[in-house]
Amino acid sequence: MSAVTTARRQSPPASPPPAGDRAQGPWRLLAALLRRRPRPLALVMAWSIVEAAPALLSGLLVATAVDRGFRAGRPGLGLVLLGLLAAAMLVGAIATRLMFPHLAAVVEPLRDDLVRAVVEATVTHASAGEQAPDGAAVNRLTEQIETVRALLSAVLRNTRQVGVAVVAAVAGLLLLSPLAAAVVAGPVLVAAFAFVRLLRLLAARQRDLLLAGERLTAEVTPALGGLRDIAACGARDQARESVRSLVAAQAAAMRALAWAGARRRLVVTIGAHVPMVALLLAAGPLTASGRLTAGEIVGALTYLSTGLEPAVRTLLGTVGSWGITLAVTAQRLGDVVTPLPPRDEPACVPETPVGHDLRTDRLTFAYSPRAEPVVRELDLTVGEGEHLVVVGPSGIGKSTLAMLLSGLRRPTEGVVRLGGLALDAVPRRHLHEVVALVPQEAYVFAGTVRENLGYLRPAGEATADERLLAAADAVGAGPLLTRLGGLDGAIDEPSTLSAGERQLVTLARAYASRARIVILDEATCHLDPAGEARAEAAFAARQGTLIVIAHRVSSAARADRVLLLDGARAITGTHRDLVTRSPLYADLVGHWNHDAPGRDRLPE
């Protein structure tokens, strides 16, 4: 879609890009984006040259008007020449006006592409299981895109000034007196060399500043998210101290950049002022020997002071300041938008599984080859329509199992089959439609209630409102729906809903989906026991398979079958079975019953 995704590289994104690649990085992204719109880019350049014309004429016209007109006693001629200048200014102003739409046509779509590329890359990477940036990092991305947009337009508008002015000054000087040009050439070349060297230093300092800012954001975010914990731990001074050092580091980076930037000013001295003085010093002997006329000296100095000096300054500002910031920022963004390698979809004609029974065959999963497996050689069959509850101590791999069963993690060994077909071979679309995993952290987004509840229905489907309402009612979200103003109600700020309310929304969403297998991964943990019971009962009564990763052991008593994970092995059986067969399970139930006297006791 975007230029960046189109220019997809084949290298795996996980490994850091090679150093050489990195060096050309900043311009690769910008060049790819600029190449897409050559026409407006060319038009901007063309109009901006026209825009510059009156500025070139002004010196000449004013000088002539004064010398030949007003001073020579011909005020009419002076006024005519000034009128000519006004006309030239009008042409320039019109060129400015005409240039803007083209500048907008370069910069605005480029920003759009950049936003699109960053959003696509961020969401795609995160949904492929990589660590997602937090809110502060997202804000920073926005800021960096804006920097690129602003600086790019500034650089585009100013580059021609640099180009035209430098060319004019140098050409003028050469035409006027090759000898004067020779005197000037030495220091100018030294300045050019120094400038190129300086660019590296400036880029490094600019990058340091950017990184210091990013570090400040990255480290201040957990502290500001944990204000309550800091207060509760009495760690105010400790926290203040760490913020102080980060703030100081950022300020130091700012000052370091300023010191490096000060050297830019020295380039002006070497490139423009030293030649002036050199020319003045050389002028004496040269005029004495008759090789340079007074007029030539005046002309050469005029070119130096009104042509070259401003040009050098603009060059330093445009390239040495904006250009550097632009390049460094674009490079950081380029780091973000590294595309993913294409996902290997099954190459053969995709088969669609028959039926919706889930089977695992010697299913094993470990985070790394050396780590102890989280799931080990699990054989499990979940028949279509069955209600299975997974019970076990926290950290034992229940959530990992949920991810494996829904195809979000690939087994290290063994296989998960859906309707007889290995999950890897099942077309993604089909899998996503058939299996609904509801994680503990409820995802509710800003939008209407209808959008939120219909989220798992195929896009564009005219979802029957009755179905959504019935789903909300079934899981116990009816009162919440009423409070939110029905299906048309807007959820502007999902964070204003309580954790339990957000879970109700995601439960209703899963209920309303077409999924034939629903996996609730502690998806009811923020509901009270009564709410949890109601939601689970609703899903049990719904057509299809229900797998519950239990938060409370009371969920188990409601299941057809219980899978007990205790680290070493996995046992399945009915609730009554397990009470007699597994001491651990009996313990769990006993503990529960100890807490819940009366009618909430589970059968022992």
């Binding site: 004064v66 002076g78 006004a86 102003a93 500034a154 500001l224 800091i230 203040r240 000060a262 503990h591």
Partner: protein
């Protein structure tokens, strides 16, 4: 240079405003903040001012010096002296400019740093319930971005002032040379000023819109990333990308509108400026022709007219100042959060008895706690139960002065918490939370957070008591594993938070739903630590589970901000409504509607589901 959209100090967008700001912060307050900042970094600012005045002076002297040097070289008299004078001036200019560049950055860096430390310091001593009304992203934005924009304002202001002063000086000089030329200048400028004003007002409105579109986009992206597991499971990444990008259309159209506004106005400015100059030159030229002015005066008029027009260049800094003001206001909204003033009194030894006397807490229109009187007995385990929104968490926050009541007092061993010296208070009260933030770097420092000089052995003992030692041992680097990104489940993080509280061995330990994520077995072990291992210390436990309530010495039952009942679990069990708090499927448990719960916090369940 006139382009408002060319600003590089573009700032992250304002997020959603805090839902209820305690105090209206106006632009006037923002101005005062900027003034205060200027006072604080007056030294580098004064140096910057001196530097820029010197730069301007040298710039004014240079043309004359260059002319003199050329004359001297051409005539061959005093060439060396004149050239040396020029070289000196050029060196002076370089020095002044370098110095100005460095001092202005120093001034800005110090203003930003001061402001950031002030914001951070304020947040760290603020009432926690007030500060957490801002989202973390919003706080980071204000601490990092808004401070940067506001902190640049003093230097920008200085630049504007010197720029305007130079322009004004040039106009005065113009009048001194030739009053007619001065009048011609003044006749031309009003049009220019009007055009500028129209431009600025048009562009600022658009720029606000632009920022708000940017903010909506960023907010959507953040939201999607927070729910990325659901997105993965549903395979809706591409749909999410479309959803996040929806505000892009607005952003784009506002961006184009900004350019249109510029294209409409900038050319007029580009035309008007030289026209004013030409008008002044024409008047002066006629003066020369009439013999009223010397040719030299004509050159001076041209120079002063150009210098006089440089006020137009102040547009960008002026816009920058406008952003600086808005940023200052946003910073001030944080600085206006109520702080908890530190008390002075030391806490004498005591058993750890906690009392609430007529405590009322209101949030917006809702009463979260309504005139609560409570005695939490010393050395006992007290459980607080109630439905969501009943005020349990607020009660827990009050008990260790993380927030302060709007009315009433909270006493520990007879002393009001607000009178206590903060160090004493923190030594006396420890907290564990449902979702603790692990701070301090690695796991060991996360457990020892806030207690400097803790030995590794003490850390491990606390971890063992919280049943989390095994978990940590299985981590890649054990206790040295960095907390961020460590593969820990919610229940495991909860236990680390619990270890952090246990380590402090405080007189009063408050557990706000700190065991909710634990499985039944671990929870039983942790409960044993709470009941037996901490015997004799006061424990206040907010819980949803009957387990904790059953083992507590005393249960406080909150409902809609009031104490509905107190007693042992067994005593309270006689109430049907109390049983409903825990009962999964009582057939007739539809209780009375619980009025008075604040909307938006309560998760009201109807417990009736006949099967």
């Amino acid at each position: 240079m006139f382009a408002a959209a060319d600003r590089k100090e573009s700032e992250t967008m304002p997020g959603p405003a805090p839902r209820s700001s305690e105090e209206q912060v106006s632009h006037g307050h923002g101005d005062r903040l900027i003034a205060a900042l200027s006072r604080d970094s007056w030294m580098p600012l004064a140096a910057t001012a001196t530097g820029s005045i010197a730069t301007t002076a040298v710039a004014l002297a240079l043309p004359a010096a260059l002319a003199a040097a050329v004359n001297a070289v051409v005539t061959g008299r005093g060439a060396l002296t004149a050239t040396a004078y020029l070289a000196l001036l050029l060196a002076g200019a370089a020095l002044a400019e370098v110095a100005t560049g460095i001092t202005s950055t120093t001034a800005t860096a110090s203003a930003i740093g001061t402001l950031r430390l002030r914001v951070a310091g304020h947040l760290l001593s603020a009432d926690v319930s007030g500060a957490t009304r801002f989202s973390t992203g919003e706080l980071v934005n204000r601490l990092v971005s808004n401070t940067a924009t506001a902190g640049s304002a003093p230097v920008t202001l200085l630049g504007t002032l010197t720029g305007v002063a130079a322009s004004a000086g040039a106009v005065v000089a113009l009048f001194a040379v030739d009053p007619r030329a001065g009048l011609a200048f003044l006749a031309g400028t009003p049009v220019l000023v009007v055009v500028l004003r129209v431009f600025v007002s048009r562009v600022s409105g658009l720029y606000d819109e632009y920022q708000s579109a940017q903010g909506r986009l960023a907010a959507r992206l953040t939201e999607t990333l927070a729910g990325i597991r659901t997105v993965r499971a549903a395979g809706t990444a591409s749909r999410e990308i479309d959803r996040v990008l929806r505000p892009l259309a607005d952003l784009s159209s506002t961006g184009h509108a900004l350019w249109r506004a510029q294209s409409r106005t900038v050319w007029q400015i580009m035309l008007l400026m030289p026209l004013v100059e030409i008008l002044v030159l024409a008047v002066a030229g006629l003066g020369v022709a009439e013999g009223r002015l010397t040719p030299g005066a004509l050159v001076a008029v041209a120079g002063y007219a150009a210098l006089g027009l440089t006020f137009v260049e102040q547009i960008d800094p002026l816009l920058g100042l406008a952003y600086g003001r808005s940023a200052a206001v946003r910073v001030l909204e944080v600085l206006a959060l109520p702080v908890l003033p530190a008390g002075r009194r030391r806490l004498p030894d005591g058993p750890g008895a906690l009392s609430f006397r007529g405590v009322t807490v209101t949030r917006g229109d809702a009463r979260v706690l309504d005139d609560v009187d409570l005695e939490i007995p010393a050395g006992a385990l007290t459980a607080v139960v109630g439905r969501s929104g009943a005020g349990k968490t607020t009660l827990a926050m009050l008990a260790g002065r993380l927030t302060e009541p709007d009315r009433g007092r909270v006493l520990l061993d007879g002393l009001s918490l607000s009178d206590l010296e903060p160090g004493c208070l923190r030594d006396a009260v420890a907290y564990a939370f449902e979702r603790p933030a692990l701070l301090g770097g690695d796991i060991a420092s996360a457990i020892a957070y806030g207690t400097a000089g803790t030995t590794r052995e003490a850390v491990r003992a606390a971890a063992r008591a919280a049943e989390v030692d095994d978990v940590v041992s299985r981590l890649p680097l054990g206790y040295d594993t960095p907390s961020a990104g460590a593969p820990l489940s919610g229940g495991e993080i909860q236990r680390l938070g619990l270890a952090r509280a246990l380590l402090r061995r405080a007189r009063l330990t408050i557990l706000d739903d700190a065991t909710s994520g634990l499985d039944t077995v671990t929870e039983a072990q942790v409960t044993r630590t709470l009941v037996e291992g901490m015997r004799g210390r006061t424990r206040l436990v907010v819980a949803h589970r009957p387990a904790t309530a059953a083992r507590a010495d005393l249960v406080i039952w909150l409902e809609a901000g009031r104490v509905r009942g107190r007693g042992t679990h067994r005593e309270l069990w006689r109430h049907r409504d109390y049983r409903d708090l825990f009962a999964p499927d009582a057939p007739d448990s539809r209780g009375e509607p619980h009025g008075g719960e604040p909307a938006g916090v309560a998760s009201r369940q109807e417990a009736s589901c006949p099967r």
